[in-house]
């Protein structure tokens, strides 16, 4: 006897409205249909009706967790269009901000994953660590989320207290290496829940265009920070963690190792950051006619922006391709023949962001 279980639109395991309709035979999943339309706000449509300065603040609100990288990529596209060079110091500040944001995002994900497994204590540990990062970002930018740091041609605020960043990052790295990595990889109950479920092969990952940690857990090595560097990434050294088993456990490991790498990047950037201006100069930059694309490695994977301009102060077309938009369809492949108990965990393992997906 097969029966249909609607997981969502409102469900304790999903932070945002999304409906995963699961058709089960017993507790074995036979078919899955996804519906992501509950968060649609028409950001692309709205961006065509606002000037560039308003659009930066608007695209920052596509997502609450990876907000800064949205504004950064949009500004990168506009700077490419206008042919601006951004001062070195601004590039480093941007790098530090996106890496801190990646840490925050991965800490949130690790917490949610633990919560979905029913491991509340680990959830609390992750969120206690995330809280330190949020406080740090608040002292840098003035806001806990939606930092508003990027503008065309640079950043709006200088890094006032690099020592505070260094101290927090060191503490976070210690928490990750001493607590999170051993807990996630050695705990028996977590191992029992994570390994061997939600498999995605390398071929499937390529065909479905998976990006970011989801793809890297399946053996792809692609990372936009290395393949086409932006901000200050071409001057920094870092590894890209890759796992080959393609299951939920691999995705856990990839993200945990990425957190360590992010700490490493921030520390390097703090060492190398040059003094100088943080802004290109004039506040109002004329955007010439034309079109440009920009890509960045958001916490969830490759983020893509396309901007076309007709010479006025309002963009002609803004296209946003978020990482979750290509990662979410792969969930269906992972869920087939899985156990009903694993469905929320598989869904959470790709770190889905529904407000990014439907925008």
């Amino acid at each position: 006897m097969s029966f249909t279980i609607p997981i969502g639109p409102y469900h304790p395991a999903l932070e945002e409205p999304c409906k995963v309709q699961v058709i089960c035979e017993g507790e074995i999943v036979q078919d899955v249909s996804l519906s992501v339309k509950y968060n649609f706000r028409g950001v692309e449509w709205l961006a065509e009706r606002r000037n560039y300065h308003q659009a930066i603040a608007l695209v920052e609100r596509v997502c609450g967790i990876c907000s800064n990288v949205h504004a950064l990529t949009f500004c990168n596209a506009l700077e490419g269009l206008a042919g601006l060079t951004v001062p070195e110091r601004a590039q480093y500040i941007r790098t530090i901000m996106v890496e801190l944001e990646r840490l925050t995002s991965h800490a949130l994900w690790a917490g949610i994953a633990a919560e979905v497994m029913g491991f509340q204590t680990l959830f609390m540990t992750c969120f206690a660590m995330r809280e330190q990062l949020m406080d740090l970002l608040e002292t840098i930018s003035g806001n806990r989320i939606h930092y508003g740091m990027n503008c065309i041609g640079g950043v709006t605020r200088d890094l006032a207290n690099p020592e505070a960043v260094r101290i927090t990052v060191r503490r976070v790295r210690q928490t990750v290496t001493d607590q999170l990595i051993p807990l996630f990889t050695e705990d028996k109950t977590i191992h029992a829940r994570c390994s061997g479920i939600g498999q995605m092969t390398k071929e499937q990952a390529v065909a479905w265009g998976a990006v970011g940690p989801t793809a890297r857990a399946s053996g792809l090595t692609e990372d936009i920070r290395q393949t086409s560097p932006y901000a200050a990434y071409n001057q920094l050294e870092f590894k890209v963690p890759v796992e080959t088993s393609g299951d939920v456990f691999a995705r856990v490991v990839v993200r945990l190792l990425e957190m360590v790498e992010s700490c490493h990047i921030v520390e390097q950037a703090l060492d190398q950051i040059p003094p100088g201006p943080i802004h290109h100069g004039p506040i109002f930059v004329e955007i010439p006619r034309g079109e440009a694309v920009a890509r960045a490695e958001a916490p969830r994977g490759e983020l893509f922006y396309y901007v076309s301009s007709d010479g006025t102060d309002i963009p002609c077309r803004v296209k946003i391709r978020t990482p979750s938009f290509v990662n979410l369809p792969t969930v269906r492949l992972m869920m087939l023949q899985a156990n009903l108990a694993d469905v929320p965990l598989i869904n959470a393992s790709i770190d889905p962001c529904y407000s990014c997906t439907s925008r």
Partner: protein, 141 residues
């Protein structure tokens, strides 16, 4: 396979243009399925497809492909707001084509296009729903 070979294989008379670290090829009559098959065969990944309006009532469609870190953009135009679907060649296109259908009512021939971001009852093509916008262009209402 380098850029020129791709261009020759597609039979395009245009030239590759480099704009802001990405390569662009404008071909109004691009054979989309042939392009998709070629790109999949050389191990490229479909990043996304962008649609935008052009004055003649048609749509400008850009296929963005990632080839070993390089971004290749194939620009083409729709014919009577229709293009062949590449979903059977590259499964990523499934959601992408559905989203473009929701936004611009562009038809992708050869597949069903259920709504993705809109609810089932809504007519596709929100970018032409002018009744939504009462404020003056560019400012906040």
């Amino acid at each position: 396979m380098d850029l020129e070979e791709i261009r020759e294989h597609l039979g395009s008379m245009e030239v590759w243009v480099n704009k802001a670290k990405a390569w662009w090829l404008e071909t109004p009559n691009l054979d989309v399925e042939k392009m998709a098959r070629l790109m999949v065969d050389i191990g490229s990944r479909l990043v996304t497809v962008t649609a935008s309006r052009v004055p003649e009532g048609e749509f400008r469609i850009i296929y963005h492909w990632d080839l070993q870190g390089q971004l290749l953009n194939f620009v083409t135009l729709t014919h009577q707001a229709t293009l062949p679907s590449i979903m059977s060649i590259s499964p990523v296109a499934d959601w992408i084509e559905r989203e473009i259908h929701d936004y611009f009512a562009v038809d992708f021939a050869g597949r069903k296009l259920p709504t993705l971001v809109l609810s089932e009852k809504d007519p596709p093509g929100i970018f032409s729903w002018n009744f939504l916008w009462k404020g003056k262009e560019g400012g906040h209402a």
